[in-house]
């Protein structure tokens, strides 16, 4: 095979992997929008907060230590432990459950029956509050996330594929990051779990009922408040997964909250209410932007990925405003 053809395959494979990473972020948006009609602007910050909490707990960092030291004149920073990753993840999940309960009690409960734009604005406020709260709680320095996920190109794959090109050609084997491979497996497991949960559990069916029709769900005794707590908890869990995968690349820092920007074209393309849509949308965006950068990018100066993802999404929007898998909204006058 020609190296150029193999490079194209490599770009597509890496585009698919990048798409999975985008989908991980988009899933959190879909879950909340599907169950409550809220576009959660704070989803990116939730990923950041969850990852900060995970690293803080794992490293035994004292939360609010700067504040405590400033007020009481102490000099405490660490509890002196280093927890195994799995324990830290479980404790972080508990924190995200508490977070979901607080969001419901302090924000959503008071905004029942409000316009979607009001709820959207409430999540903007939540995002900015959490940015500051996260910094206050865990500090703003870059945190190194180590939960044992390997990174770097797979040597095994490179060795297996190096012979695919003719000998003497400028080809060094197929490159795929091990972190991306793991993210793909995690995303697959996540989607299967979410699907099984929503199809085969009583709570899952209640979630679907609320998603279909709030009023009807309330009339058969489903507690909307309880469902909101569950949905925000699951979204918090998805945010943790996304935060871990992205944070493993760059360290846990403020910029992690900006990964939400990568999820928006995925949502436009896949639809705001479809879990498979988030996955397929992510894959299309990932492959589309990488292929465009590979083929057209060099001709127009490169750095095309950010804007091309939105252009691609807008093209889809023209033909399918509800996205590929979104629910078609028909309002009769």
């Amino acid at each position: 095979m020609s190296p150029q053809f193999l490079f194209t395959i490599e770009v597509i494979a890496n585009g698919l992997m990048a798409g999975v990473m985008y989908s991980l972020v988009a899933l959190g948006f879909v879950l909340i929008f599907k169950a409550s009609g809220i576009f959660n602007y704070a989803q990116g910050v939730m990923a950041l907060f969850a990852a900060m909490t995970l690293v803080g707990i794992q490293n035994g960092q004292v939360p609010f230590s700067h504040l405590i030291n400033a007020v009481f004149g102490t000099n405490i920073h660490h509890f002196g432990w280093n927890l195994p990753a799995i324990v830290a993840i479980l404790i972080t999940l508990v924190v995200m459950v508490l977070f979901a309960i607080l969001v419901e009690r302090l924000i959503l409960k008071h905004l029942v029956n409000q316009e979607p734009i009001i709820l959207f604005m409430a999540t903007i406020g939540l995002a900015y509050f959490m940015e500051g709260f996260g910094d206050l709680m865990w500090g703003s320095e870059i945190k190194i996330l180590d939960v044992g996920i390997p990174s770097g190109g797979s040597l095994w794959l490179e060795e297996k594929t190096i012979g695919w090109a003719a000998e003497g050609s400028n080809y060094y084997g197929m490159y795929i990051d091990k972190l991306d491979m793991i993210a793909t497996v995690v995303a697959i497991l996540l989607v299967i779990s979410l699907t099984l949960f929503s199809q085969y559990t009583k709570t899952g069916r209640a979630l679907r009922a609320v998603a279909d029709d709030h009023q009807a769900a309330l009339s058969v005794g489903i507690s909307l408040r309880k469902i909101w707590v569950i949905v925000w908890t699951i979204a918090g869990f998805v945010a943790l997964v996304a935060g871990v995968m992205w944070g493993a690349k760059s360290g846990v820092q403020f910029s992690l909250s900006l990964i939400a920007l990568k999820a928006l074209p995925v949502l436009i393309l896949g639809g705001f209410t479809s879990i498979p849509g988030a996955i397929i949308g992510g894959l299309i965006i990932g492959v589309g932007e990488k292929l465009f950068e590979f083929t057209i990018g060099p001709l127009i100066g490169g750095a095309t990925e950010n804007w091309f993802a939105y252009v691609l999404a807008l093209v889809f929007l023209v033909f399918r405003p509800q996205g590929l898998f979104g629910d078609k909204i028909i309002e009769r006058v």
Partner: protein, 433 residues
């Protein structure tokens, strides 16, 4: 009655705000346009702390500058150009002597404003490179080095390790796709023509969290050297991706804004050997840091909690403080008054001469290059060094002395760009004698 209460409360709030922000009349006021929030806070905090701590040290140890207390007026920009301009407008009337905008975007916006207001700007290692031409930019200073010096230092290092010949070598520039990131392109192109290497330009869009395409391209094209011109998360991701594709770290050279501990630590041991340019030393192995510990950190007067002292960006802010204080002292000396004005401060900056004796006297022997500022040269000779990351010890090591950049290539570029600025803005070149 309720309205009256609200009005009274509002007045109280305004009055207390004024009380907090207006410095005592005799203070020497140094605004600090810092960014402690937002995506670049992790870099902005140590720099702002270093700058503030140097001023606190001078106040606590020496009783101020020539007997006048130095006061920092900190204003949060969030690394946002618009906010930076607002900070300038809100602080310039409070006796501001010199601004460190700490952002190329903010610097560009402030150049005409500060020039019109007669307040000097010091953009140390950033900003508009051609501002080094003091005949055109009479209030703007960018000593001790600028971006184009940096590009030349990177090429000089390649020349040094290749016995002076890099003809036929492939060099890739991975840069932040912004005015800042594009600064070195022209210089690297001119140097490519001179030394015969090929240059590939690889832009990365803000914020740079995802760089898979760029590093796949590098893996395909196998350049001999990669020069990194990034900021914030772009640096961490670039170094991680370079490690992932097993690009040799000793052939990976970042500009000084891509060379802090924050940039290399997330990649762990795989970042070992990464190189970065610098115009000052790192660590705390200088006498002044003992004073800092005694008078500032232990006294509970540090801007941060003291754990950043000695890091690259803290030391850069500290160094900016040192250069500012020395220029202020010189201004006092030239004009024979302790209570200097921005115009006097400008004169002090223009007469600044940093030599070994001055640095040693300040407890910073050999901390930075020796240089001299003049009426026509606001950038100094553009000396710089290369440092290398040692992952095992978690520290940077200086690989070289502070060396000269290729001014035979850079000076014509400075002259051309500044002449263009002068023509656009109807500025007549000063006569520097």
């Amino acid at each position: 009655m309720k309205k009256l209460k609200i009005a009274a409360l509002a007045s109280l709030v305004c009055a207390s705000g004024l009380l907090m922000s207006v410095p005592a009349t005799a203070d020497l006021v140094f605004p600090s346009l810092s960014y402690r929030t937002g995506p670049y806070a992790v870099n902005g905090i140590p720099y702002a702390d270093g700058y503030a701590d140097y001023m606190t040290l001078v106040n606590e140890r020496d009783g101020g500058i020539g007997g006048e207390k130095a006061q920092i007026l900190e204003c949060e920009t969030g690394y946002n150009t618009q906010k930076g301009v607002e900070c300038y407008e809100s602080t310039k009337g409070q006796g501001a002597l010199v601004y460190h905008p700490l952002s190329t975007g903010i610097t560009y916006q402030l150049i005409p404003k500060a020039t019109a207001d007669g307040i000097p700007i010091h953009s140390m290692g950033y900003g508009r490179t051609s501002a080094a031409n003091g005949k055109i930019f009479d209030h703007i200073f960018n000593y001790p080095a600028n971006y184009w010096n940096g590009a030349s230092h990177a090429v000089n290092h390649m020349l040094e390790v290749n016995g002076g010949d890099i003809k036929g070598k492939k060099v890739a520039l991975v840069y932040h796709n912004s005015a800042y990131g594009k600064e070195p392109i022209r210089t690297l192109e001119e140097l490519a023509a001179k030394h015969g290497y090929s240059l590939t330009l690889i832009p990365v869009d803000h914020p740079g969290q995802e760089q898979k395409s760029q590093w796949l391209q590098i893996r395909r094209e196998r350049p001999d050297y990669v020069v990194l011109w990034g900021w914030g998360v772009m640096n961490q991701v670039a170094i991680q991706e370079a490690a992932n594709i097993r690009f040799p770290m000793e052939n990976f050279i970042g500009v000084w804004w891509s060379g802090s501990e924050n940039d290399v630590k997330p990649a762990g041991p795989k970042a070992n050997g990464y190189k970065a340019l610098t115009f000052h030393d790192v660590g705390t192995n200088f006498p002044v840091f003992e004073d800092l510990q005694k008078y500032v950190v232990d006294a509970g007067k540090a801007a941060g909690n003291g754990d950043q002292v000695g890091t690259v960006l803290y030391n850069r802010g500290f160094y900016a403080g040192f250069l500012t204080v020395e220029a202020a002292k010189l201004a006092q000396e030239i004009h024979g008054t302790k209570d200097i004005t921005p115009a006097m401060m400008r004169d002090g900056m223009e007469a600044l001469k940093v030599d070994a004796d001055l640095m040693a006297a300040a407890g910073l022997p050999g901390f930075g290059p020796e240089f001299e500022v003049s009426c026509d040269n606001h950038g100094g000779p553009g000396l710089g060094a290369v440092q290398q990351w040692d992952a095992a010890s978690g520290s940077w090591k200086l690989l070289s002395d502070y060396a000269e950049s290729d001014m035979s290539v850079i000076q014509p570029l400075i002259d051309e760009d500044s002449a263009g600025f002068a023509a656009e803005n109807n500025i007549e070149a000063r006569n520097c004698g």
